[in-house]
């Protein structure tokens, strides 16, 4: 099954490129300490605002830090927070969707109406309020984004469950006296795994969108940790004299989110 998925993914050059970009950033996030020419937080006050050159491929920022090194190192925080929050959000959302779709009735009604209420709010607004009260930290960021992703995921999983819950194998499991949890996770979940995988990729793109935006707004990763969203906001005040400080992280974010989304669209279409 993974083989056919891979083949559909590599069928078009655009999608192949997108897969390469995603894998490339993942690899960089793991091995960046071997790649960076300078320490990502090492300051060189003599060499501030240096334009791109052979020495500093992407120039230096307001503290004389090497932008390329910070970009490479910054891939780690965005991917860790993105992957962790998506995993948590999809796990919670899938469980809620399974419960709502399988049990129907009042449980379904109550769950879905509360999720509707949560979804009626702009993600960024709820996230800023919660993070303002909890304080910014990587863990809080993961929790808040997972909370925001779960309802969307639950809804999709629920409708996938609806088309399986009345099958004979579910009735058989019930007659065998299997527990609710067994039916949900052993009988129903394997059948909707395809949907869950596509959901994971789509939510990952949204999650990285949110991580970058919240860091840009000041609720995410805190300085001096290298982070793409944060780098854009740090570079914003002096973009006129050193545009490369803003361009590099902005392009990095764009490349990652677009690549993930192209892969997600392709998986959904197949």
């Amino acid at each position: 099954m993974i083989g056919t998925r891979l083949r559909t993914l590599l069928a078009s050059p655009g999608v192949t490129l997108a897969v390469a970009v995603v894998l490339g950033w993942l690899a960089i996030a793991v091995i960046w300490p071997l790649l960076v020419p300078y320490g990502p937080t090492a300051q060189q006050l003599g060499g501030r605002y240096a334009p791109p050159s052979a020495e500093h491929w992407l120039g230096t920022d307001n503290l004389g830090r090497d932008v390329l090194s910070r970009i490479l190192a910054g891939s780690r925080s965005v991917l860790i927070v993105g992957l962790a929050s998506t995993t948590l959000g999809v796990a919670v959302g899938t469980t809620l969707g399974l419960v709502a779709g399988f049990y129907r009735g009042r449980v379904d009604e109550l769950l879905m109406r509360s999720l509707d209420l949560l979804m009626a709010f702009p993600i960024i607004v709820i996230a800023s309020v919660i993070l303002a009260m909890l304080g910014p930290s990587r863990l809080n960021l993961v929790l808040v984004i997972a909370l925001m992703l779960a309802p969307y995921n639950a809804r999709v999983v629920r409708s996938a469950v609806l088309s399986w819950r009345d099958r004979d194998f579910v009735a058989a499991a019930r007659l065998r006296g299997e527990s609710g949890a067994y039916i949900l996770f052993r009988e129903l979940l394997p059948n909707i795994m395809g949907t869950v995988n596509v959901e994971f990729t789509m939510r990952l793109a949204l999650s990285i969108f949110a991580v970058a935006t919240l860091s840009f707004l000041g609720f995410g990763i805190q300085p001096p940790t290298p982070d793409w969203g944060l780098m854009v906001s740090e570079g914003r005040p002096f973009y006129q004299i050193a545009p490369w400080v803003v361009v590099a992280p902005a392009a990095a974010i764009a490349s990652l989110v677009v690549a993930i989304n192209v892969v997600a669209q392709r998986l959904r279409a197949s």
Binding site: I124, L134, F209, F216, L217, V232
Partner: protein
């Protein structure tokens, strides 16, 4: 006949309004609970972390924070309904006029944004459905896939770099001068509006395309073609009418996204709107201001969803018959 349909619609509307008000009360309790229960001590927040315990207690007393939670909630809600929204902890000034002014600015920005987004996205959706699977469709589809994924602050930074720094056409900050006429105002709002729109345009265009394709393949469309109507008439008189209905719901759903986008866009362009105010309140933990802004936003979002539902019901005879119990 018409009269009974109208009264059915009115009943439907009143029922929905009642549900909405109930939800809004629930939301206000949630907002209040969320902000009050989450950690962060007010006394220390205002006096700094080295304040003595007595002074912290004094501040809590002055703010009335030593009273039970339920009493404080009722006091807050009562004030809210009578127009007394309390004072900002940080600025010490009444909230209502400040929030009102900022909200007005944001509504102006959002209005201009929608005036730009709706025609562009609907046209893109229609064109791409009519040219389905051809080059135009693929290009439009490619642009929408890309545009819904890029965070607003990223596209806005690129806009500023290109159209403010490289080509000095537009100001990079949206602080519209006091005495600006409509044209100058538009010039200041151009970049923020273009920055906030790609995600919205992407979603709406894709919905319009999908519903156009469904309607183009419907039986009534084939009948209209077969009875010899000119293609233009078929599309404008038959297909568009049905295809644009789902767009109303999507546009209403996008209002939530727009509000989130406003927070970001107003931060990027220093625009004095409600989003920027929310951000400032959140960063300094100005609790009364946060509560007031979130409640106002919740009310606006619910009202606009209700308005969209109502419009949809009025324009769609099938739904109308259902909602009003077949009174038509």
């Amino acid at each position: 006949m018409a009269r009974s349909a109208d009264s059915g619609l009115l009943r439907y509307f009143l029922r929905r309004l009642a549900v909405m008000l109930g939800l809004l009360v629930l939301v206000s309790v949630l907002i209040f609970a969320m902000v009050e229960i989450l950690p962060g001590d007010v006394g220390n927040l205002i006096l700094g972390q080295y304040a003595t315990a007595e002074n912290v207690d004094l501040v809590r007393q002055q703010l009335g924070l030593d009273r039970p939670l339920a009493v404080r909630y009722l006091d807050w809600m009562g004030g809210f309904l009578t127009g007394d929204w309390g004072d900002s902890w940080r600025l010490g000034t009444p909230l209502a006029p400040l929030i009102g002014r900022r909200l007005y600015n944001s509504v102006v920005l959002a209005g201009v944004a929608f005036a730009f987004v709706i025609p562009v996205s609907i046209t893109a959706g229609i064109v791409s459905a009519l040219r389905r699977d051809r080059l135009t469709d693929r290009v439009i589809n490619g642009i929408s896939v890309v545009s819904i994924t890029i965070p607003e602050f990223v596209s806005s930074m690129f806009l500023i770099l290109f159209f403010s720094l490289l080509l000095p056409w537009f100001p990079s900050s949206a602080m519209v001068p006091e005495d600006a006429g409509p044209l100058t105002t538009l010039r200041y709002l151009a970049l923020p509006v273009i920055g906030i729109s790609p995600v919205l345009i992407g979603y709406i265009a894709r919905t319009v395309r999908a519903s156009m394709i469904t309607e183009l393949g419907a039986d009534y469309t084939r009948t209209a073609y077969l009875k010899g109507l000119d293609p233009r008439t078929v599309i404008t008189k038959h297909v568009l009418r049905n295809a644009l209905l789902p767009a109303i719901t999507v546009i209403a759903n996008q209002i939530a996204w727009l509000v989130g986008g406003l927070v970001v866009i107003e931060a990027v362009f220093n625009y004095p709107g409600i989003g920027q105010l929310l951000l400032q309140a959140a960063l300094v933990q100005d609790v009364p201001m946060l509560e007031a802004i979130v409640l106002i936003l919740a009310a606006i979002l619910m009202l606009s969803n209700l308005a969209a539902d109502l419009l949809y019901t009025m324009l769609n005879p099938r739904v109308r018959a259902q909602a009003t119990g077949g009174a038509t």
